[in-house]
């Protein structure tokens, strides 16, 4: 099984220098996880538990203090063309049109111009954005911008998508539409994804598995396999009563009922 994993973390620990400059702060401790090809796994946990740190390690932007990450069995030693990430912020460049923004990644990777444009146009058509390809980002709604960001992420044809709360900044209705688009795309393109989210329902409806992290130092305290069909149709899953049982279990594992707002994680560093 480990050999078939698309994305794998082996005993990853991450420590940061504390802001006071004195001690070291452990953000993530001994995290091991493995995601198979075309599998979608969500990661949930209290804020500051190091979820985003894991994502940065997976994309090769930061090196872990201990342990290592692997993509397709290759150790991650820096940014990797097979991994692409998407954040809550759309990070669209205001001076580029929609189609130019979608081409940003492939352009950096040196894909020839005609091939770049072909890929971008295909993705824009798929996401119903073809008529906006010449628009600038400020002319689009938040949901459309996030869809452009998703197209940019897919344009580099990555094996693994790392998604850090990609829809948490859009309104509830747009979020449902974007979740449906993402679920469909991930299934059609057979992509592997690690999705960080605060939205328990989103985790349950979009994933094959949900991993629960503890407060800092973040470790994985539970793994829940979502035993439901239609991973490509979150709306159908929402309608399934089984969802409630999963959400209840996640709430229980996160201890949300007993959590109080008076206990923020000391010196937040998400």
């Amino acid at each position: 099984m480990p050999d078939a994993a698309r994305l794998e973390y082996r005993n990853v620990t991450m420590r940061f220098a504390e802001r006071s400059g004195k001690g070291r702060l452990t953000a993530v401790r001994g995290v091991s996880l493995s995601i198979a090809d075309a599998e979608v796994v969500s990661l949930i946990g209290p804020s500051g538990c190091g979820k985003s740190t894991l994502l940065n390690i997976g994309s090769g932007l930061t090196a872990p203090s201990e342990g290592e990450a692997y993509v397709d069995g290759q150790r991650v030693a820096g940014p990797n063309a097979h991994v692409a990430f998407m954040l809550q912020k759309d990070l669209l460049l205001p001076w580029r049109t929609v189609v130019e923004n979608v081409m940003f990644g492939v352009e950096i990777q040196g894909v020839p111009p005609t091939e770049r444009r072909r890929r971008a146009q295909n993705l824009l058509e798929k996401f119903n954005l073809a008529e906006f390809s010449g628009h600038y980002p400020h002319q689009l709604s938040g949901g459309m911008r996030q869809r452009v960001a998703l197209a940019r992420t897919l344009a580099v044809d990555p094996h693994v998508l790392l998604l850090d709360e990609p829809f948490s900044a859009v309104d509830a209705q747009t979020r449902i539409v974007l979740q449906r688009d993402l679920a469909k795309t991930l299934r059609e393109a057979q992509k592997t994804a690690l999705l960080i989210t605060h939205d328990l329902l989103e985790a349950v409806t979009l994933s094959d598995r949900v991993l629960v992290m503890s407060r800092r130092p973040g470790t994985i305290v539970d793994e829940i396999r979502i035993d439901m069909p239609q991973r490509d149709d979150p709306l159908a899953r929402r309608a399934d009563p089984k969802v409630n049982a999963y959400v209840a279990r996640l709430m229980d594992r996160l201890d949300i009922a007993h959590a109080s707002l008076e206990q923020p994680p000391a010196g937040d560093a998400a």
Binding site: N56, S59, G60, L61, P79, N80, A81, V83, A84, F85, L87, K89, L91, L93, P94, W95, R96, F104, G105, E107, I108, Q109, Y136, H138, V156
Partner: protein, 260 residues
Amino acid sequence: MNDAMRKGAGASAALLIVFLAAWQWGPGLLGVPAFIVPPLSTVAREFVFAWQVDHLLLHTLVTIGEVLAGFILGSLLGALFGYLLGMSPTAEVALSPYILALQIAPKVAFAPLFILWMGFTVYPKILVAILIVFFPVMVNVLTAVRTVDPDLINLARAFKATRAQIFWKIEFPTSMPPMFAGLRIGATLAVVGVVVGELVGGNVGLGYLLTFGEGQADTPLVFVSIVMLTFVGAIAYLAVILIERRVLHYLPARAIGGNL
């Protein structure tokens, strides 16, 4: 053009007429002698005379040339240092006390020194303009490079961008709007730098014409020089705004540079 703009433009034109009328007849009505405030018609006659006899066009063109050279060189140097210091915290820490000292020193005070060094040529004037344009451009570019969203840089890095790609595809375009804000300030300051240089020493340029008029007690000529200097400054400012509108065309429809 909306209603507010139409009304504003109308009021603006009316103000101009009131101002010109006050200039023409105000001094006479208030008993101000013509050698203190010459009326509009006298200044207009002086303009024609200066054009025909005093080589007004030549003086204006020399001043424009100096402003242009000082503005372009000062902007290029300012942008260059802004990018270099923005990308190298070490260089910024090392150089910032000296840059700050030079920024605090009144640049026009260097004019006599430059004239001592370079004589009654165009170079001291250009040098004062360079010095004075340098800072607003440098500071704006430096701040822009410093405040680029780190997530944008990480996005590019995740796509395996090289350092040069990060600069040309992210940092450089991000710095454009603040850089143009600096250029707009620089365009008007360049005229100040050049005029001070011409006032201090020389025999050509609108600043020279100004001191020449003063020496002759030729108040209308002084007025003509001031009007021409304002004209040169306005042209420089408008040129920057026109370029800015083309370069920053992607920004939301807010009028760049307001209505000016």
